[in-house]
């Protein structure tokens, strides 16, 4: 049984005309426990909607059809009671912009403590210890300050590490990373990617890595699916897709990444 299996997933706006093109169109993919898959595409191609659909959290006004099974449970059309146990222990998401993904008025320590208390049932001193360990695991410095800090008081890279600690706190089998380094500057990006790489390997988690950045994706995953306007246009091992793209869209994506590289080298 696959950990995640998406079959003919379509997502469309409830208010759109019946013949309008769906935002995600008949997507299928599957992910075994411990495997890594990249979802590539430009903004608006339906990547983030797919990740929200997996946890049953599509924004109101959008409806999914087809099938998503997470750990053997059907997500599409499922009741909150069915979805609740999946969120956290089975799948967790790290979002693109950590400043908006963290509650601005809650101290970092409490935000990390929430999922640890819920999913591991820890209280009191044991909870404090687990929170420190969770922040330590994502290599945050100066833990005493971090625990009491509000999100606006720490740096962007530190915020994303906190978000990763929160996502991992429930010990998920599948980590969905939705453009986790796009909002960060390049040096911090490399550190956060290395951190994700290490944690995913150590915990033998499955990883669904969503990005528009080919270089970043190729360093994180083994297989990729290329999305364009909600349609999966190409899929395969990452090395093959990037070295010999078959679809026109992928070719353009690779070419523009190369052009940028060359331009940078020429400087």
């Amino acid at each position: 049984m696959s950990l995640l299996r998406i079959d003919r997933l379509s997502i469309s706006s409830a208010s759109a005309a019946p013949d309008a093109r769906p935002l995600v169109d008949e997507l299928y993919l599957s992910l075994e426990a411990g495997a890594r898959l990249g979802l590539i595409g430009e903004s608006g191609s339906g990547k983030s909607l797919t990740s929200l659909a997996i946890t049953g959290l599509l924004p109101s006004g959008l409806a999914g059809s087809g099938s998503i099974t997470l750990n053997g449970v059907e997500v599409i059309g499922a009741d909150e009671r069915v979805l609740q146990p999946l969120r956290g222990p089975v799948a967790s998401i790290v979002f693109q912009e950590p400043l908006t993904a963290l509650d601005p008025l809650m101290r970092v320590g409490r935000q990390v403590a929430g999922p640890i208390r819920r999913h591991r049932g820890l209280r009191g001193g044991a909870l404090d210890t687990a929170v420190r360990a969770a922040l330590d695991e994502v290599a945050l410095p100066d833990l005493d300050r971090m625990l009491r800090a509000y999100p606006h008081e720490i740096s962007g890279g530190q915020r994303q590490r906190v978000a990763i600690a929160i996502a991992l706190a429930s010990r998920p089998a599948l980590l969905i990373a939705d453009e986790p380094t796009t909002a960060l500057d390049v040096t911090v990006q490399a550190e956060v990617l290395a951190l994700l790489n290490r944690l995913v390997a150590e915990r033998e988690m499955a990883l669904l890595f969503i990005s528009h950045d080919l270089a970043v994706v190729s360093s994180m995953v083994d297989e990729v699916v290329v999305l364009s306007n909600g349609v999966a246009v190409e899929r395969g091992p990452v090395a093959r897709v990037l070295s010999a793209p078959e679809h026109e869209y992928t070719r353009r994506l690779v070419a523009s990444a190369r052009a940028l590289d060359n331009a940078l080298e020429a400087l």
Binding site: D103, P104, L105, G114
Partner: protein, 289 residues
Amino acid sequence: MTAVTPSDATQHVSPRLKGRRRSRTLAIGIAFVGLIVAVALVSLVWLPYEPSDTSGGRLESPSWEHWIGTDKFGRDLLTQLMIGARIAITVGCGAVAVGATIGITIGLVAAFAKPWLDDTISATLDVLIAFPVLLLAMLIVAAQGASLGTAILAIGIALSAVVARLTRILASQVLRAQYVTAARTSGTRWFGIVGQHVLPNIWPTLGVNLALLFGAAVLAEASLSYLGLGAPPPNASWGRMLQEAQATFTTAPAGAIAPGIALVILVVGVNFIADGLRDLADPTRKRSR
């Protein structure tokens, strides 16, 4: 939302200047309200005269025996003013508590509800808000009979529509925020979302507005009493003092001026506190102080 980046707050005024001005507003507000609260507390243990004591001369001018004079029945005005402070604060706190409890509950239900229920609640609230607060309160008092409890309940219910609408707007903004989606992906249930994310994030704005509504409640109580629909004697009320002194204003103005000044001090003080609280309640602004 109220979450502003530090640069927002510092754009026009230097942070130190702004901080000092804010804290001065807060200090004046606390002094004003503190004065009235102190008078109300003193009235619990000591009054210059018994409230029903009519031994003074009628409509006396301020003197050593009667600091702000007496009314047309010969009762001491300072005694009534002190009891009035107690009534004003009791009704203000009670009405805000009633209004906040009912209003926040309805507002949260609307924010979480399916669109059709949300629309129904919102339309009902709009009608209630369009209805004058005083008229609504008068209807309730007319049905229940005038008493301190009725005044609190009536004003509280009238305020609850305003609180509910504000809560609904603020809460649905928070519910759309990505940190709520993030919290839900990590398995937070809906009551956790309300307690940990929605209430703390709407509190800076909601709390300030509740403080402002306290002022509105005090004025509404004075108006009800002025119309003879407030707490009956021996509860003295500033509104009823104003009404009783109205006919003799030209010959004995103290009876109207004193409760008027007391009302202004309390309401202005509360509004100043509300202004100052806005910054205290929001840690993302604190840094710019």
